[in-house]
């Protein structure tokens, strides 16, 4: 298959959570290291929060992958909203026990209390999109962390659930609270260029000037998910022009016009 620079560049920005696509930025890597350090501490829960699209899922996935060699870590990317199913999955992951019937919280607590830890390291459960869990479920997760036989890392959006987490009885159990934020202009430039260079799209990586990055940052506010969407559409439009009207594009610099067209198409600009 023939290599097309715009097509390859476009596919780089497909909105998927893949640790291979993880871009190490200075600020994020500092947060990542502090989170790894806090896992070794005798804490019960770690809270990871931020606006949608700030890279929580990617962050959690990356952490999970790196911990697998040293910890018994289990990532729940999609919330298990059924309570019985949640406890059955926990029993399976923590103790290798399979339940065919129902498993309620009381039964699971009995199991947890009866089981001893295999080693000095407490098993780690990483819960993504934890804002989708109900309040009662969160209370049960809190009680489970009180047994000190399982540790939870909870990633959630900044919603009402966060207020619940912030309540006093939760605060006493959360020992580490980490906030993820949108990228700055410089970080966004590094993010875009590193992502493209990782896919050997050096020509398109060099197309981005500070001015065009500023415009992208103005449109997306440094949100990684929005940036990915915008960049995907941007290269899709470039691909369209290349195939239909190649005279209208300049391969040396990203056109602000096409950036704005991408933003209009993705709904980031209301026009």
């Amino acid at each position: 298959m023939e290599f097309n620079i715009y097509e390859s560049s476009r596919d780089v920005f497909l909105d998927t959570v893949n640790t291979k696509d993880y871009i190490q930025l200075d600020r994020v890597s500092n947060i990542y290291q502090s989170l790894k350090d806090s896992i070794t501490k005798p804490l019960k829960m770690i809270l990871l929060y931020g606006k949608p699209g700030t890279g929580k899922s990617m962050f959690l996935t990356k952490l999970h992958d790196s911990l697998l060699s040293s910890h018994a870590a289990h990532l729940y990317s999609t919330p298990i909203l059924d309570e019985s199913e949640f406890f059955k999955t926990l029993a399976q992951d923590l103790y290798g026990m399979e339940y065919s019937g129902e498993l309620n919280f009381t039964q699971f607590m009995k199991v947890v209390n009866n089981k001893e830890l295999n080693g000095p390291v407490i098993p780690l459960i990483l819960l993504d999109e934890a804002q989708l869990y109900s309040s009662s479920m969160m209370e049960k997760i809190r009680l489970l962390s009180d047994t000190r036989k399982v540790k939870f890392i909870i990633a959630l959006h900044k919603t009402e659930k966060e207020d619940l987490i912030a309540k006093e009885h939760f605060q006493t159990r959360i020992w580490e609270s980490i906030k993820l934020e949108n990228a700055s202009t410089t970080e966004l430039m590094i993010y875009i260029q590193k992502k493209l260079m990782k896919a050997n799209c050096l020509d398109t990586a060099n197309m981005f000037s500070i001015k065009s990055i500023n415009l992208i940052h103005k449109i997306t506010d440094g949100n990684y998910r929005d940036t990915n969407k915008l960049m995907y559409t941007l290269f899709d439009i470039y691909l369209h022009y290349q195939q239909n009207n190649p005279n209208q594009i300049n391969g040396s610099q990203v056109s602000n016009k096409i950036i704005e067209m991408s933003a209009i198409h993705t709904g980031l600009i209301n026009a």
């Binding site: 899709d236 439009i237 369209h240 026009a271």
Partner: protein, 274 residues
């Protein structure tokens, strides 16, 4: 699915909207600036006027030196020259006041109080010289004057030139306009003294026909006024009616035995008066 044409149109509209925002801001700024400039100009009309006055005064001050030189050479020779020299220091005082703007109080009230003395201008040339220097203030002038005279005079001297201005104005008004004013007064009260005054003035102005008429009018009102006969005869001579003048004078001499009329008659007959 990408609809590039639609996207291009929407992008153009978006761009236009964004430009309209800046355009509106630009227009508003221009309107504000125009309004501000208008207000500024409106408020600064008075200051502009004062500036033009200052410029005019500066121009007049440039001619000042030459005038003063004339003044020095004239040295109290005649009244006209005195008037010129009087005008100069008066203007100079105004200039120094305007250049100092509002820092000095108005001395108008002192001018009104003080009585004028022409001797001051004849005697004191120091004041005129000091006035020629633009930057010297009124206070400095006072100190210069105080060196030459007593303290009482110090107050009077810088003010005196202004008072003499009134005298000058009166002299300058001795013109046809003033005769016209006297004529209107004469028409009201029919006073032969006024008509005689008019006749004399017209004679001085070499308007002999008018002088003849008003002398005749005076004579009709009162035929015993010697001066009216004299002016009447003189005007006739000037109007090249010498015979009529001689005839009239002879009649008057027979009637009144006026010595002045006789003298005039002799002068006319001998050809001394033409």
């Amino acid at each position: 699915m990408l609809n590039i044409n639609d996207l291009e149109i929407r992008q153009k509209n978006y761009k236009l909207k964004s430009y309209i925002r800046y355009f509106m801001i630009f227009i508003i700024l221009i309107i504000i600036s125009i309004f501000a400039v208008f207000l500024f100009n409106y408020n600064s009309v008075s200051t502009v006027d004062t500036n033009t006055n200052i410029l005019k005064n500066k121009e007049s001050s440039l001619t000042q030196d030459t005038k003063i030189k004339k003044q020095e050479t004239a040295e109290h020779s005649n009244i006209i020259k005195k008037e010129i020299t009087i005008d100069k220091p008066q203007e100079e005082v105004i200039i120094t006041k305007e250049e100092k703007l509002k820092l000095f109080p108005s001395l108008d009230f002192i001018r009104k109080i003080q009585s004028s003395t022409l001797n001051y201008y004849e005697d004191n040339t120091n004041i005129q010289k000091s006035v020629t220097k633009k930057e010297i203030s009124i206070e400095k002038k006072k100190t210069i004057i105080s060196e030459a005279s007593e303290e009482k005079k110090v107050v009077e001297k810088p003010i005196l030139p202004i008072e003499t201005k009134n005298i000058i104005n009166i002299k300058r008004k001795n013109s046809n306009d003033d005769i016209g004013h006297v004529i209107t007064r004469f028409k009201v009260n029919n006073n032969p003294a006024l008509s005689l005054f008019i006749a004399k003035k017209y004679y001085q102005l070499k308007e002999y026909e008018n002088a003849y008429n008003y002398a005749l009018i005076t004579n009709e009102i009162n035929n015993n006024i010697e001066a009216s006969w004299i002016i009447f005869a003189k005007s006739l001579v000037k109007l090249k009616k010498k015979d009529m003048a001689i005839k009239t004078l002879k009649r008057y001499i027979n009637y009144s035995h006026s010595s002045q009329a006789k003298l005039l008659l002799n002068e006319i007959l001998t050809g001394k008066f033409k």
